[in-house]
Each structure stands twice: as C-alpha cells, then as structure tokens.
C-alpha cells in the first residue's frame, strides 16, 4: 500500500510547472515577487535619481554569486568599474575580489558623443560581442545593464538604437541569462526612452518621495508577466548591508506560538491573568494618559525578564538610558546591574532622528545582533511625529509580526490623549494587533488623582475584570486590594475613608462580641453557682433522707430482733442439779 506508485494524491500534487524564478537575494524582494525575478528573462528596474537602481543591480549580481553560485556580468554605461567598486565597498561588496575569482565581469561601456561620428549604416554588434564574450568567458547566469539609455546620448540615430535594443533583449532572453536593466524615470513614462516597451516580463519601479521633510524610498512591481506578486508600494531602505525591502518578515500570519508564560514582574498583576503572566512571544500594549507610570510598568517587566536570566531590549524614545536608569532607581527598579552584565540593552533615540522605515530596520538589526527574549518600546505613540497614522500602523504591524515570528515578547507603551473620553482607542490603532492590552489611567476623584490599572483584553487566557488601584512606591509598583464601597470600587482618599469606616465597624463589632462573651461568662458563672447551691441542697437532703432511712432500718432491725427474742421458747433446762450456788 505504501509503495503504490499511481497514488491519486501524488498525481494531483504535481501541479503545472510555475514560472521559474531567479532569487534576487535582496532582503524582502523575493517575498514580494514570490520567489525572485523571472529566470532567464529581462527585468526592468526604473526610478528617478538616487533611488538605488544601480545598487539593486549590483546586489542582484553579488547575491547571485555569493548565495546561488551564479556568475554575473555587470555592464555599466555611466560609472567606471573602479568607481562602482569603490561605491559599493561600503556595503561589503568586494567587486575586485569577485572579479579575481572569475565570478564577475565588469565592463564599462564608454559612450561619448564627441568621439563618435556616424558615417553610414551600423548596428550595435560591438556591444553584443562584448556582452556575449563576457557572459561566455565566466559562464554568467546573471547580467546587469546599468542605464543602457546612456546609449541614446551617444548615438543620434534613434531608429537603429531602438531596434538594436529590442534585439539585445531578445538575444539576452535567448541566451537564458536573467537580466536586470536599469533606467531613469521619465516624464509621464516609466523610463525616459520608453524601454518598458521592450522589457515586458517584469518591471520594478523605485521611487524616492519626500513627505514632511522625511524621505521614504518605495518599491512597486508594476508588472510581472506570468506570476502573481505583491502589488503595493513597499518601503525599502539602503542599509549597510544593501537594499532591504520591507516587509522583511513574513507576510502571512502563520507563526508558531509558545505556551510558556512570562511574568509581568508584579505578582499582583500576574494574578489578574488566568495563566499568571503573558505568553512568551505575545505582544503587550500598555496605554495610559500622561504620568500613569507606563514607563515604570515597562521597566518592571524589563527587570523581571533580566532577573530570570533572559535578555531584554529597551527602546526608549523619550528618555536617555542614564535618565531611565536613574528614574527607575528611585522606585527600586535596579536596571544598572542588568545593563552592566549585558542582559539589558537600552537603545535611546529621538523618533525624529530617522524615518519610520529606518527605525524599523534599526530595530531589526539590533534584534538580529542582540537576540533578546523581550523587546520594550517606550512609547510607540512618539513615532507619530515622524509619520502619518497609516504609516506608523503599518510599521508596527510589521514590527509585531517580526517579533512574533521570532517568539520575542513585545511590550509597547502608548500615550493616549487625556481629552479623549473614549480611551479604548489608541491613536495608532494597534490595539487590534496586540494580544494583551493593559490600560492605566487616572481615576480622578474629589481633589485627587489615583492610578488605576485594568486589563482590557488578554488573548488566550482569562483575566480579571477589576480596575485595580496601584501605587508607585519606593519598593516599586504595588497593586492595592480591591476596596468596594457603597457605590462601587473606591480609590485614594475614598479608599482610606472606606478603610477607616470599615475599621471602626470592625472595632464596634469586636467590642460587641466581647461584651456578649462577657455576658455569657457572667451568666455561666451565675448558673454554675446556682447549680452548686442546688447540688449542696440536694446533697443535704439526700443525706437527711439516707439518715432517716438508716434509722428506720435500724429500728426495724431492733424490732425484729426483739420480736424474735420474744417468740423464742425458753431454753430447755437440764436435769442436772444445779451446782451449788
């Protein structure tokens, strides 16, 4: 049965062959293109100046060589080989080294209008031969033509040029090399010279946009013949490691989950959760108005994570590490020692330092290097200053996804506006993304403010529905017991009043009880005395009766004796004469 070759299941699983793809090796791009660029076909990468077109091409080649062992040819029409090599050295791409290994060939095509004289009919066979020779000499599988449009400046005969470029792309296709062609963005068209007419398999558009003085680079796949692909604009970054297209994490919600529990650091808070803490790898959101000890709660969690010997990354967007350590010291949360032994890493940065995408990549990088078990971001609401709501939300979605996939517990704090009566909504709208949501707020009563903490939701476990008052004391955060007054839960001074009242009541009740006890004792004693008297009386009566009884018995005995004596015949006298008296 197990070696049935014509099993219907194997027959149906052999689906139609999919379009073969060449993985680009560029972070995130392969996820959007669902596997990479079309294998053996040309791909057009277009974009305006400074988008990183050349870099994308070079990275495609270098990753191909390093990760997939596919040699590549770079034909550049603008920069010389030496310039290119110098430019990408900072990204760790060693072009001369790869050239020496015979994995890469660089060819700078020098196009200078002043040197070229058209004297009749011609074609671009010279270029074909150069390229063909370069490809054949190293067995290249990948080719990058960096800004082939530069040819248009050198050769005035557009008709020849266009037909030759068309022929070139066909020729590259026939050779079966995966080609990336970069082109400058034109007015109203994707490329200045309309190259998109010739490259019809895959077109990637790079864009560089400045919104509110913050630059964001975006990538969009305009078309991809024969394949599905992500259609959105995806932000991407040029980092020290090359291009990173976001999302760098999985686009799907299918991460593994943990059943382990991590403590919040506050025993009383843990008790409010059915499983006594948060799930490892879940995301926790603490929202609250200003001054509701969100950071303190977060630091308590950080200290707890470190106390149990795990690593915690604290991303502070408001305070410097030193300030945070000092401030937490004042409430007996000692972070300095954990920082010293490397269990806690505090990264502080102003949100406005970078764009959102840069922040995200920085966070990814730190997490990749540091491999923490928990990440705290304090607060996420500050990020709004560098992006609009939807951008912040999408960034946080990606961040939360990333952390979940890596099974890292995430704790975010978020400031909610005090004016907003309905405090259930965070501005970033991330509340639906998080697993556990703790709300801290001011409970403003008569002339005082108190802090109240409640759990709005906790996925996967039961949780207390009570609003617990908590104090930030010299010994850290303390949750107070629930005090219920006539009109519900009371806090602060009301709590004290209620407690005093209850104490008085308790005292009164106790006194009453004692009084009753005394009364009982007294009565017991009275009764006992009475019982004693009665017993004495009873005993004397009993004695008397016994005496009478005895006397009666004695009397009857005597009587009987006498009677007997009386009834007895006289003793028989003997015949013997009495002795002489």
């Amino acid at each position: 049965m197990q070696d049935n070759p014509t099993s219907p299941s194997t027959g149906s699983s052999a689906a139609l062959p999919k379009l073969p793809k060449a993985p680009s090796g560029i972070d995130g791009l392969d996820e959007i293109t669902e596997g990479g660029l079309p294998l053996g076909r040309p791909t057009l990468v277009c974009g305006s100046a400074g988008c990183g077109k050349t870099l994308m091409g070079i990275e495609f080649l270098v990753r191909g060589i390093q990760d997939y062992n596919e040699p590549g040819v770079l034909m550049t029409f603008e920069e010389t080989a030496a310039e290119l090599a110098a430019n990408v050295t900072s990204l760790g791409f060693d072009l001369p080294g790869l050239q020496a290994e015979g994995k890469l060939r660089l060819d700078h095509v020098h196009v200078d209008r002043s040197e070229i004289e058209e004297t009749g009919e011609y074609d671009l066979e010279g270029l074909f031969i150069r390229l063909g020779h370069a490809i054949d000499s190293i067995g290249a599988k990948r080719v990058v033509l960096d800004t082939i449009e530069a040819l248009f400046s050198g050769f005035p005969n557009q008709g020849v040029l266009r037909s030759e470029i068309r022929r070139l792309f066909h020729w590259l296709k026939d050779k079966g090399v995966t080609t990336v062609i970069t082109a400058e963005r034109g007015e109203g068209t994707l490329t200045r010279q309309g190259l998109e007419e010739y490259v019809s398999d895959c077109v990637i558009l790079l864009d560089n946009r400045v919104i509110d003085q913050i630059t964001t680079r975006r990538l969009r796949i305009v078309k991809y013949r024969g394949s599905t692909h992500g259609t959105n604009e995806y932000p991407y970054l040029i980092t020290e490691d090359g291009i990173s297209v976001l999302p760098v994490t999985s686009l799907q919600l299918n991460h593994a989950v943990s059943n382990d529990i991590v403590s919040s650091g506050i025993p009383a808070l843990d008790e409010m959760f059915g499983r006594r803490g948060f799930y490892q790898g879940s995301s926790v959101l603490i929202t609250g108005t200003a001054g509701t000890a969100k950071t303190t709660l977060a630091a308590t969690f950080a200290a707890e994570v470190c106390r149990t010997g795990r690593r915690c990354l604290f991303l502070a967007f408001e305070e410097s590490p030193q300030q945070l350590v000092r401030n937490m010291h004042s409430v007996n949360i000692e972070l300095a020692s954990y920082v010293a032994n490397g269990l806690l890493r505090i990264e502080a940065a102003r949100p406005t330092l970078n764009g959102l995408e840069r922040h995200l990549v920085t966070i990814h990088k730190i997490i990749g290097d540091y491999k923490p078990d928990a990440v705290i971001i304090d607060p996420i609401s500050n990020l709004i200053s560098v992006g609009n709501l939807s951008e912040v939300k999408s960034m946080l979605i990606r961040l939360i996804d990333f952390l979940k996939v890596n099974n890292i517990t995430a704790l975010f704090t978020s400031l909610v506006s005090g004016r907003n009566i309905q405090q259930e909504m965070t501005e970033e709208g991330v509340s639906s993304l998080v697993d556990t949501w703790i709300s801290v707020r001011d409970l403003e009563g008569i002339g005082e403010r108190n802090r109240g903490l409640s759990i709005l939701k906790s996925r996967g476990m039961s949780h207390s529905n009570k609003v617990r008052e908590f104090l930030v004391t010299d010994q850290g955060i303390q949750l107070l017991d629930v005090v219920i007054g006539p009109a519900g839960i009371v806090t602060g001074a009301g709590r004290l009043t209620q407690q005093l009242h209850e104490q008085a009541q308790t005292l009164a009740a106790q006194q009453e009880q004692e009084r009753k006890d005394r009364e009982l004792e007294r009565r017991r004693r009275v009764l006992e005395a009475t019982i004693g008297n009665l017993r004495t009386e009873f005993e004397s009566v009993e004695e008397e009766l016994r005496q009478i009884n005895d006397e009666e018995l004695a009397r009857q005995k005597t009587l009987a004796h006498n009677k007997a004596q009386f009834a007895q015949p006289l003793p028989l006298q003997s015949e013997k004469p009495p002795r002489a008296l």
Binding site: D107, V109, H110, V111, E115, I116, E117, E118, T119, G120, E121, Y122, D123, L124, E125, G126, L127, I129, R130, G132, H133, A134, L151, G154, F155
Partner: protein, 103 residues
C-alpha cells in the same frame, strides 16, 4: 584575424583600425569604402588594420566598441571613432582630417 594592409615605412602618417563583424553587409561595405578612401586620398601614407571582432571578441571591450563596424583613427591628432559603413564619404574625410582637394 588581423589583416595588415600596405605598411608604408616605419612612420606612417595615418594609422587606421577598422573593426568589422564578419561578412555582414555593413562590414563588407565598410571594408570596401575604407580601402577606396585610403587609395584615393592617402596612398602610401597610411597603415590600415582590419579586425574581425567575431574572431577576437576580447578586443571589443578593450577597444570600447559599441557599434559595428567602427573605424578608429589612431593617428594623426585626436583619436576618432567612426561608426557605420563609411558610406558618407564627406563625413569620413572630415573626421579623418583629409581635405578632398589634396588629391
């Protein structure tokens, strides 16, 4: 396949290299045209090298060839590149710095 034509002495005035792509019509025309021009205007004063880049593809990169056929004038004066089948004689002569009156 290098085809050296009429090496006229040690120091010739004109050094011309023609790169062709096999026997394509453009290449054939270019060879015919340059030979004609040389014989007409530069007799005894030139050195012409005709290279088939199909045979020596590595030269294509070395010589920075794009179009084909290409005539490179190495001497005299500045290096000039003449792309095409050299049928536009006026332009060819101008680029080579030859005045037709000289004949």
């Amino acid at each position: 396949m290098a085809d050296q034509q009429e090496p006229a002495g040690e120091e010739v005035e004109y050094v011309l290299h023609l790169f062709i792509t096999g026997a394509t019509p453009n290449s054939t025309r270019a060879v015919r045209n340059i030979k004609e021009i040389c014989e007409l205007y530069l007799k005894g004063r030139y050195e012409l090298l005709i290279v088939d880049i199909y045979q020596q593809p590595e030269l294509a990169q070395h010589e920075q060839l794009i179009g084909a056929p290409t005539l490179i004038k190495r001497r005299p004066g500045l290096v000039r590149r003449l792309v095409g089948d050299l049928s536009d004689r006026e332009r060819v002569l101008k680029a080579l710095g030859i005045t037709p009156l000289m004949s």
